[in-house]
């Protein structure tokens, strides 16, 4: 499975299919039992530091140092990428404003709501301006305004040539957002639905959902 530069690869599957596990492997959080994950040619296990330089990971349920304040934590993260503290603060403030967290900089992260933590997770992932993004159920739980913002945001990242893996079980959203959709079921990759096929599935009033269930035999 490849995620190309300048594309959003949707990652669809039922709960427990293996979407989060795959993403966590790609982010270097857990080790693959077989196979390899290459990030711009670097092995995430054997060349973890170099591979992680170009990954931004947004987990489904992000957890941060509870007593840290956002800019302190961003400065700490920035150090791993060789970003200077003042540059990290400047970029951090820009991103916090962009994700509507500009007024929350003096709050400790333990006082953030789950939605705020998710937005902060996006800020933290984008801080080093990585070439590759792993977004795990990022659209989940967003209100219509949030979803519209994310669509625009993803389109913007795509236009900048970023490679984005977006997992979701909201198939209608993947229909609208992804260039291709990979379907995973019980830990096995069943198919990568190319754009043309995706268009033909949905063009005659069909739904990705129907095709998905046919694929997994449900």
């Amino acid at each position: 499975m490849n995620v190309n530069d300048g594309e959003v690869l949707g990652f669809a599957g039922l709960n427990g299919a293996g979407k989060t596990t795959t993403i966590r492997m790609a982010a270097g959080i857990i080790y693959p039992t077989s196979g390899t994950v290459l990030v711009d040619g670097k092995d995430i296990v054997k060349e973890k530091v170099q591979a992680s330089m170009n990954i931004g990971w947004v987990p489904e349920f992000p957890n941060f140092e509870p007593n840290a304040k956002p800019l302190t934590l961003l400065k700490y993260y920035a150090g791993f990428y060789g970003i200077r503290a003042d540059d990290a603060v400047r970029r951090g403030k820009e991103l916090l404003d962009m994700f509507d967290l500009g007024d929350e900089v003096n709050k400790k992260l333990k006082n953030y709501s789950q939605g705020m933590k998710k937005r902060f997770s996006l800020v933290a992932a984008l801080l080093p301006d990585p070439k590759n993004l792993l977004l795990d159920e990022t659209l989940n739980g967003l209100d219509p305004e949030g979803i519209r913002f994310m669509r625009k945001f993803l389109a913007d990242l795509r236009s900048k040539g970023k490679a984005i893996l977006l997992s979701s079980h909201i198939l209608t959203e993947l229909e609208n957002t992804a260039d291709r959709v990979a379907v995973i079921h019980k830990g096995k990759l069943l198919e990568i639905i190319e754009r043309e096929k995706l268009t033909s599935i949905t063009s005659d009033g069909g739904k990705l959902e129907d095709y998905f269930f046919k694929l997994i035999g449900g």
């Binding site: 959080i29 973890k48 330089m53 993260y77 990428y81």
Partner: protein, 285 residues
């Protein structure tokens, strides 16, 4: 290097670490006060510093405080973050899991070493001022060594259990159990084993043999063996005429307590638990 600076700052911002450091320093001040024979007006020329007694007092207090600091430092700095998923927000950066583990372990050890250094400096300064005599360098080194080994061992054990247990609750449970079994109840366990399993009640030398061997398998026991080596005295339980305890002068080498065995086992206690945690971090996650 980035991670170690941050972890150090984080360690010294932890209220728990600061409180524990202050308690250790305060207890050193109390030990120092006791050293000055309060209430007795002993002329300066007649003041004699009994290092064995000093070691026993320090042991009684530090053998409880250092493990508490190490265990909870291990829980707060690593175990809780690992169980709650906070550590993942760091591991996804350009850093290895083992890099994070080592950085946090080193930061924890630095906190313990600083607390110890201040505490020992207070005791030494008191000895110099009251007895006009500084503690012998080898005794200062021995005190440092004992509690660095003990601190590293308990800290390493917490890191190890953090890679075995998945929840914060079970980790807290194990932290308490480790503290009770390997520290608070260790002498009782040794005595029960010596009496119950090996029937060593009537023979002090048999009791000491069992005690020294068992003491090598606990960081707190290691401290007891170090004291045996330094003071050449131990307390053996005997029941020749009813149960009682007697302080006996012994040759530590005849029980296997030598400089080499102490050095090797001390290094093993400092290295093995954290090394096992390191291996689990590399292979298991």
């Amino acid at each position: 290097m980035n991670t170690i600076f941050y972890d150090l700052r984080r360690t010294f911002r932890s209220r728990f670490v600061i409180v524990m450091m202050l308690i250790i320093i305060l207890s050193a001040a109390l030990i120092s006060y006791a050293l000055t024979n309060p209430g007795q007006n002993i002329p300066k020329s007649q003041r004699v510093l009994n290092v064995s007694t000093l070691f026993l007092i320090v042991n009684g207090i530090f053998s409880v405080l250092i493990p508490i600091m190490a265990i909870f430092e291990g829980y707060v700095a690593y175990g809780a973050d690992r169980a709650s998923g906070v550590l993942e927000s760091v591991i996804c950066r350009p850093v290895t899991k083992t890099g994070v583990l080592i950085s946090r372990f080193v930061a924890g050890m630095i906190a313990i070493i600083i607390a110890l250094a201040i505490a020992i400096a207070i005791i030494d300064a008191t000895a110099l001022s009251y007895y006009s005599k500084s503690l012998p360098l080898q005794d200062i080194a021995a005190l440092f060594w004992i509690y660095i080994v003990e601190g590293a061992a308990f800290l390493g054990l917490m890191y190890l259990f953090s890679h075995i247990l998945k929840s914060q609750t079970s980790l807290i449970g194990v932290a308490i159990a480790v503290f009770l079994v390997l520290d608070i109840l260790w002498t009782t366990i040794v005595t029960l084993v010596a009496f119950g399993v090996f029937n060593a009640g009537s023979s002090p030398s048999k009791f000491i043999s069992i005690e020294t061997v068992m003491d090598f398998i606990s960081p707190t026991g290691y401290e007891a063996n170090m004291l045996l080596y330094l003071t050449k005295e131990t307390t053996a339980f005997v029941r020749s005429s009813g149960l009682g305890a007697a302080t006996l002068s012994v040759n530590p080498a005849s029980y296997g307590v030598t400089l080499i065995s102490l050095a090797l086992i001390g290094i093993a206690w400092m290295v093995v638990p954290v090394l096992l945690a390191y291996m689990l971090a590399m292979k298991r996650d």
